[in-house]
Structure formats: C-alpha cells, structure tokens
C-alpha cells in the first residue's frame, strides 16, 4: 500500500500513461494532458515528473530506438508498474471519497461558457 498520496501532476501523468497504454511516450502524453486537462504542460516538467515516478518505482521507462516513420527520433515509453496502478487507484479512490462530501461536485465537469 502506498504510504503517501500522489501530487496532482503526478496523478495526471499516471492517468495519461494508463489511458494511452502502449502509445504512452513523451510527446503523446504531453499532448494528451494538455488537451484533456486543458493546462499547459512543459516537456521539462513532464520528464522531471516521470523521473520522480520512476525513482518511486511507480512506472517503468523504456527507451526505444527510432522505428520506421519516426524520422530518426527515439522515444521513451512509460508503463505503469503494479505499484503505480495501486498508487493511482488509492489516490483517485480517496479523491472520489472526498468529493462525495461536496454536493455541488456531482461528478460532471463544470461547463464554463
């Protein structure tokens, strides 16, 4: 059981990696978080966080040599470890529990026109 909660951005990164699955590498994750969460994400912050998650054993980073169609650009893929899944589950569960105490947080994102 993880002894500490995930920071917000760490949670975003883990969620994005989990959602992208086999396609989770730097640029894809950066774009994914930026587009879905609507917050600017710098590549430096992403890699700093990935490094921290890696140190904690929550993700495994797997550098891969460039493949066909990538114009010679190597990628570093990110996969959740069982510990990573557990930590993500733990943090989001607790978040959900905490949200239930707030009636106007009914689960649907607030729509701002």
């Amino acid at each position: 059981m993880p002894d500490s909660f995930l920071a917000e951005f760490e949670m975003y990164v883990l969620l994005s990696a989990a959602a992208l699955g086999d396609d989770a590498y730097g640029a894809a994750m950066r774009r994914d978080i930026e587009q879905r969460a609507g917050r600017p994400v710098s590549i430096g912050a992403l890699y700093a966080t990935l490094g921290r998650l890696d140190d904690k054993g929550l993700v495994v980073l797997e550098p891969r040599a460039p493949e066909e169609g990538q114009r010679g650009r190597p990628r570093k893929y990110c996969r959740l470890t069982p510990e990573g899944r557990a930590a993500l589950r733990h943090s989001t569960d607790k978040l959900r529990v905490m949200m239930e105490g707030v009636p106007w947080l009914d689960g649907a994102p607030e729509v701002v026109e």
């Binding site: 590498y25 640029a27 430096g44 700093a48 921290r52």
Partner: protein
C-alpha cells in the same frame, strides 16, 4: 525563407539542462510536435510554441537534475550550502539593481561579441564531420599549384590516374559550379557540387530520402539530381513525394532521385553548402574531361585494403614523375618546377589547408576585436566590484565579526559573481543571436547566391558559459580576496576607507584607464579603415569607369571557335541598340575586378634570365574602342584596331612595366613575345607570338594590395574567348545596365558570372573588405566606448559620493560650484587621458603591422587617431560632468549635518 527547424538556441539551451538520460527523448518529442505544429499553424507559431516550451522546461529540468544529484548523496551537503549562498547572493544583488544592470549589460555585450565570432569560426576550427563511412581510410589528394603551393586542385585525367593506383580502392572527384534551375518560381541560380557518380558510394553517405547518385548515373532515364536537405525543406516542404519530381536544370529536365543528408557541405569549397549534387557527365562538358592543365577537381580517395599512407605517398610520387615526363606542358609549374601530388587524411582536409590560413587570419582579426570588447567589459565590471567591495567593508566586517571565516566570505562573493555571470551569459547568448542574424544579412556583394550561415550551436553555448564563468570568477574573486583581507581588521563603524585620504587614486582608476586604452585602439582602427575606404575611392585607377555599364555573356552551345566572330558582332550590334549608347566593346576580362581572374596567361620573351615556365600575368583581349572607352593612357604607338583581325599579324599593347621589365632601357615597340593562355576555356597550348604595337601608362591590378605588375592587351579577334565582358558607354550607366539585360539576354543554359551592372559598382567591390573591417571595428569601438563611459561614470560617481563631505566643506568655506565641478572633471579626464596614452603605446608598435591592409593612409594617421582621442575625451568629460553636477546640487549644510 528558412526551413522550418526548431530554434537552435532554445533547443541547445534545453539540451544543456536536461538530464542526459532524458535528453535525446525529450528533444525528439519536442521536434515531433514542432513539426506537426509547423505544418498546421506555420513555422512562426511553431517556433514561438517551441520557445515557450523551453522557457517553461528549464526550471523543472534543472530542479530535477539537482534533486537527483542530491538524492544520490555524496556532494549533497556541499550543494545545499552552495544553494544557500546562491540564494543569499540573489537577495544581496537584488538590493543593488543598478550594479546588476550595468554588469549584466556590459558582460552580456562582451560575451555576445566573442560568442558570435566563435560561432562564425567554429566551422573553420572544428569542421563538422560529414559522416563518411570508415573516414580514416579516406584521403584527399592535391596537385601542387602554379606557384608551387601543394594544395591545388586536380584535372580529370590526373584524377583517373590516381584512382587507378594499386593502393587506392576507389576515388571520387568533385567541383563546384553554378547552374540555372527552375523549381517552379522562375529561373534562379543554384550552387551545384558536380561529383563523379561514385561519390556517394565511396563516402558511404546515405540520403535522407530516396537514393544517392549511383555509379551508373546518368543512366538511360536521363539527368538526375540529389537535392540538399535545406532545399528539400524550403521548396518541397520536406515531403517524401519529392523523389521522382523533375526540375529544370541548365535547360534540361532532371529527375530528383534523393535528398542529401542534412547539413552536407561542399567538398571542394569550404563552408559552402551546395543546393544540389549532380553527376559529372563528360558529355555535358561542365568539367573539361580530357585536359590535364584544366585543374578544377578535388579528389577524395579510399585506400585499398591493407594499403598504408606511406604506400600511397610513394605511388603518388611515382605517378607525378611519370606525368611530368609525359606531359611537361601541363605538369611544369610557373617556376619551371615539376608538380607533385600530396595526400592528406580526410579529417585534416575538411577545410582546405590554403583556405584555413586565410580564414584563420580573418577569424583572428574578429577575435581580436571582440576580445578587446570583452576585455573592456571585464575591466568595467571588475572596477565596479572593487568599488563595491570597498563600499561593503562594513557589511563584510560585521559578517567576519559574527564568525564567518574568510573562505565563507570569498564563497559568498564568488556566488554573487556566478549569479551575475549566469545572467550575463543568458544576455550574451541573446546578443550573439542578434549579431549572428546581422552577420547573415551582410550578403556578399557579388551576384552569386552564397550564404553565410552563422548559427551559434551547442559548442558556442558551452564556450559562452566557460567564458562567463571565467570572467565572473575574475571580477568577483579579485575584489573578494582584496576585500576579505583587511575587513576583519576594520572597525565595523569605520565606514568606507578612502574617504579621509584626499585625492587618492580611486580603486577602479587603473581599470578605467585600461578601458579607454582598448576603446582607443578600436576606434583608431575604425578610423584608419574608414580613411582607407575613402583612399581607395579617391585613388587614380588608371581607368575611368564613368558612364560604363558591363555584363558577362557566354556564347551559346554549338558556337565553336569559328563561330565566335559572328557571335561577337551580333552581341555588339544588339548592345548598341540601347538608348544613348556611344560606344560598345567586348573584352575577355575587366580590369581591376575579380573578372580578371579568368585572363591568366604565361608570357615568354626569350630573355636569358627567364624561368622555363615563363612569367604569369593577366592578359586581356579586347575589341577596338575598348581601351579608349576606359581612357587608358597610351604612351607610344597605337591601340587595337579593326585591322587586327583573325588574318592580321597578332598584336599586343603592353603597359610600361611590361616594357621596362622585359626590354629594360630599350624601345618595346615592334618587339615580339609568346603568350600562352591557361584558362579552362582555352584550347590546350594556345600559344601565339605577338608583336608590341603600343605601350600604355596604365597598370591595372586585381587588388589594391597587389604590387603593380606587367600587363597585356591583345586583340579579341585574334585571341578569342567564349565568355566575354560586354561594355557599353553612354551618359547614364545605370540605364545602360538595364538595357543590357533586355537587349543582350543571357543565352539558354548560360550562367552569367556577372549580371548587368555599372563598372563603377564593380570597382567599389575592390574595397569591400576595407568597409567590412571599418564597420566591424567601428561596432567594436562603439561598444567599447559605451562600456568605457559606464566605467568612468561609475568610478567618478563613487569618488564624488565618497568625497561629498570634503566638497561640502570646500563649498561651505567659499569655493564656487564651478571650481568643484572642474575638480571632478579634471579627475575624469585624467583617467581617460592616462588610458589614451596607454592605448597610444599599444598602437605605436601594432599599427604599422596593418600597413599592408591600409590604402593611402599612414598607420599612425593623425586625423584618425586625433578624432578617436577627442571623441573619448569628450565622452569622459560628459560622464564626469553628470555626477559632479549632481554633487554640487546638494546643499552643503545637509551633507555636513548628516555626519
């Protein structure tokens, strides 16, 4: 237009701070997104996005790296201590924003200047690796030149002989040529590297897209071309569908078969990046395939398995003696010596040794200028910090009293230096970027699409960082050591020292003097070169360019030597149709311009002391009326006439130096001599015996730096050339130039070396290097002046503040304001004057070294030196006057009351 590439600076900066384990991946990620964005929103938006990404990434990346280093243990405690010192330094510095601004601005400018020069010189110092396969088995083979210098180009037949040596596995040859192309935007001129078709196979270079040139090119399917990566990005949007497209090259449709690797430069001309690579095709005649004296190729050879460099040298020497024996005409040089081959490993020949010397000298000049600017900046900041250290004695004494060791105080000051150095480095990189852009915009004033790309890359950034570190350690530690020593002895309440000791030299005085000395050297140099520009313009050239417009034209394919007279007549007739044309003439070359280079010839007069190879000189061939058009001053005999046609006796007009050199003390008229043409356009051994019919006073040289030399004019009808200069004279040369373009358009497939222009503008090219040097020195001098002003202002201000009390007492006992101001002014001027004397002492031995570069100006020209000195004294006075005025503006009673 530039290829959509991520901003290099930003990219390098990010690469610098990223963890090495992440670096390639994070950069690749950004590149990928940049490319997508560039395609959807345009390169500008993509660049802005990229810079924002980098700006937002620097801190997290740095933090992550430091964090990892800390977690890794070891120097953790040290890093934390440094972190504390750095934070304290930032807080301390934030309290004196003016010091920070002056320091960062001064060092930023100085660092920017040296970084720019470094970036420009980088390709010469460390030529980039072209990425050849097994490069250590490749050698470049040179044939010695006319003057005996070893690093010359080779002819095609000689190249074939070299390739056939047993110690060579294979050899390729390359030369650079211009060709007219149409990529869908109308005709334009491209730089082509013409290579033997095995060039890519020999070097193992792999194309970015498509296939390389193959030894079988050009095959059945017609002309093929490999295009440069830049051209691919700019014109074809980087799409892979470029392969198979056709483009019009020299009037023929050629198929694009591939894209060269990114950044591939020319093997033949250093620092030039060709636009296209085309296979050498003996049929097109772009390179003379059968003539041993036409040396235009650089030869790159691969050693055979097991062959050593010694074997290669031996076989090349044997081949050279065989060629000397068999083809003495082509293989004896000007001095009558046998030519030889020289092989150099590929790594050492990326920039040809001859070019290296020239470029090295140019780089040295720029480094000297930029170095002086940095020196001034450094002196500035050191002075500022000396003053600051004195002013901070009280604070440092308190720290020492509270138990801070000397090491700790030095470290604190060093931390301040590091913070300032880092900030200055960032500013310096920005300045370098602006300067590099400005450099790139100085297009060479030649009608040729040469591009100078100065892009400070990763190595330049490291260079800036190292320089900034060194400089900031100097300016922070010198005062730190001086400041830390007596601090413990001073009483905390003693205030700043120097306040009670009268006119003691201010601490920064020596440094300000040094600044003025350096600024004086720079400004005086700028003055000398400016005067040289005027000297060059005012010089009597012996030819009169007024009212003359010129252009080069080549006979169309298919006009043989026999057809040239008819083509000449046609060109002259058409050029004569221009409005206001008074005279039309053709010539092989154009006096005093670079077009003269094609008119090399060898002369043999049979004099007993003559070398067997003859004497090399320039020989123009002209139509009747040409010498009159340029107002050449005839001393004896006649000029070229209509009767000097193909059937008449070959004649020549020589200059006085020619006559005096070959027939000293005798009448040259009626004498005969042999003239051998040497350019690639002429047939082999085109030897003619010419009779002297006139002697002229004029001595046209190619360059102002050259000594006067013998010169010959022949009759173009008797000494024909397929490429000629068309000259027309009339009241309005600009207008004539425009008419020339339309009346005598370039022939199909012709590459005009010179577009229609005025002769006067061609002549002004001769002094272009003087103007560039004057401009660079003026920029350096201006920067130095600016920094020196800040320096003198800072020191005088400091002294004024320190002596506020004394001045107040003086005023209180009756000294007038003027007297006090004059006293301060005197002090500022004394600093500047001392600097000028020191600068003069430097100039005295150095300036005469520039004599060869200056035109009609003495190295110690009083006007240049005087103007520079006056300017410096003037700004010194102004920079002292301002703080002096401020000082006397304060009520003396208030100053004294404060005590």
């Amino acid at each position: 237009m530039k290829a959509p590439r991520p901003p290099r600076f930003a990219r390098a900066a990010l690469g610098w701070v990223l963890d090495p384990a992440d670096r390639p991946y994070a950069l690749a990620d950004l590149d990928e997104e940049f490319e997508t964005l560039a395609r959807s929103s345009g390169p500008g938006a993509a660049r802005r996005w990229y810079r924002r990404q980098v700006a937002a990434s620097l801190l997290p990346a740095l933090g992550s790296r430091l964090g990892r280093a800390n977690r890794a243990g070891g120097p953790g405690e040290g890093i934390r201590e440094w972190g504390r010192d750095l934070r304290l330094a930032v807080r301390t510095l934030a309290r004196s924003p003016l010091t920070v601004a002056v320091t960062v601005a001064s060092l930023g400018l100085g660092l920017g200047a040296v970084t720019t020069v470094f970036a420009a010189a980088e390709e010469v110092i460390w030529p980039s690796d072209p990425g050849y396969r097994d490069a250590d088995r490749l050698v470049t083979v040179y044939t010695s030149e006319d003057d005996g210098g070893p690093w010359g180009a080779s002819s095609y037949p000689d190249y074939q002989d070299v390739a056939a040596l047993p110690s060579m596995a294979d050899a390729a040859a390359a030369t650079v040529s211009f060709l007219d192309a149409d990529l869908g935007r109308g005709p334009e001129r491209l730089i082509a590297e013409v290579v033997t078709p095995n060039y890519f196979a020999l070097t193992g270079l792999r194309p970015a897209v498509g296939r390389p040139l193959l030894p079988s090119d050009p095959g059945e399917s017609g002309p093929v071309v490999v295009i440069a990566h830049d051209l691919w990005m700019e014109r074809f949007g980087g799409g892979s569908d470029v392969v198979g497209r056709s483009m019009r090259v020299d009037g023929r449709l050629a198929t694009v078969v591939g894209v060269a690797p990114e950044g591939l430069g020319s093997r033949r001309v250093p620092l030039v990046r060709p636009d296209v690579w085309v296979p050498f095709d003996p049929a097109t005649g772009r390179v003379p395939a059968s003539r041993r004296e036409a040396r235009e190729l650089v030869v790159l050879a691969r050693l055979a398995d097991g062959a050593t460099l010694d074997q290669v040298h031996g076989q090349l020497a044997a081949l050279a003696s065989a060629l000397n024996a068999e083809y003495p005409d082509a293989w004896l040089d000007q001095g009558g010596r046998e030519r030889r081959f020289t092989a150099l490993p590929e790594r050492d020949s990326r920039v040809a040794p001859t070019a290296r010397a020239v470029l090295g000298a140019v780089a040295g000049f720029f480094f000297g200028t930029a170095g002086l600017v940095l020196l001034i900046a450094c002196a500035n900041v050191t002075g500022l910090f000396l003053v600051r250290a004195l002013a901070r004695r009280r604070e440092l004494a308190v720290r020492a009293a509270l138990g801070a060791g000397r090491g700790r105080i030095v470290r604190l000051l060093a931390a301040e230096g590091l913070v300032l150095g880092a900030a200055s480095a960032v500013v310096g990189v920005g300045v370098a970027r602006l300067m590099s852009d400005a450099l790139g915009r100085i297009a060479p004033p030649v009608d040729v699409p040469l591009r100078l790309t100065v892009e400070p890359g990763g190595r330049a950034l490291v260079f800036t960082a190292v320089m900034a570190l060194a400089v900031s350690l100097i300016f922070s530690l010198v005062p730190a050591i001086r400041g830390a020593r007596p601090a413990t002895g001073s009483r905390p309440g003693a205030g700043a020292v120097g306040a009670r000791r009268g006119w003691r030299p201010a601490p920064g005085g020596l440094l300000v003097g040094a600044q003025f000395a350096a600024a004086f050297v720079l400004l005086a140099g700028a003055g000398l070169f400016l005067r040289s520009v005027h000297g060059a313009a005012a010089r009597d050239l012996g030819v009169d360019p007024a009212g003359v417009a010129v252009a080069t034209r080549s006979a169309p394919d298919g006009v043989g030597t026999d057809g040239l007279p008819a083509w000449y007549a046609d060109v002259m007739e058409r050029a004569g149709r221009g409005a206001g044309v008074q005279r039309v003439a053709l010539s092989r070359s154009l006096e005093l311009t670079l077009l003269q280079l094609g008119a090399m010839a060898t002369v043999r007069t049979g004099a007993p002391d003559e070398s067997p190879g003859g004497v090399a000189l320039f020989a123009n061939a002209v139509t009747p009326g040409y010498l009159e058009m340029l107002d050449v001053d005839l001393l004896q005999g006649r000029t070229i006439r209509d009767s000097d046609g193909p059937d008449g006796e070959p004649v020549a007009v020589v200059n006085r130096l020619f006559a005096e050199r070959f027939w000293p003390g005798e009448d040259a008229l009626g004498r005969t001599f042999e003239l051998v043409r040497r350019s690639a356009d002429d047939g082999p051994g085109a030897t003619r015996t010419l009779r002297v019919v006139g002697v002229a006073a004029t001595t046209p040289t190619v360059d102002f730096d050259d000594a006067p030399a013998p010169y010959v004019w022949t009759s173009l009808a008797q000494d024909p050339a397929p490429t000629v200069v068309v000259s027309v004279e009339g009241p309005d040369a600009e207008r004539l130039a425009t008419d020339l373009r339309t009346l005598v358009p370039p022939a199909e497939g012709e590459v005009p070396v010179l577009g229609a222009t005025t002769y006067a503008s061609q002549l002004s090219l001769q002094s272009v290097h003087l103007r560039v040097m004057a401009r660079v020195l003026a920029w350096g001098g201006g920067l130095g002046l600016f920094l020196a002003v800040i320096g003198v202002y800072g020191v005088v201000s400091f002294v004024v503040v320190q002596r506020m009390r004394e001045m107040a007492i003086r005023r209180a006992v009756g000294a007038g304001r003027g007297r006090v101001v004059r006293g301060v002014l005197r002090r500022g001027l004394a600093l500047a004057g001392g600097g000028l004397l020191a600068g003069g002492a430097v100039l005295l031995p150095v300036a005469p070294l520039m004599r060869g570069l200056l035109v009609d100006v003495a190295p110690l020209d009083p006007l240049s030196l005087g103007a520079a000195a006056l300017l410096l004294l003037g700004v010194a006075a102004l920079a002292s006057w301002v703080p002096a005025r401020r000082a006397v503006g304060v009520d003396p009673m208030r100053v004294l009351g404060r005590e």
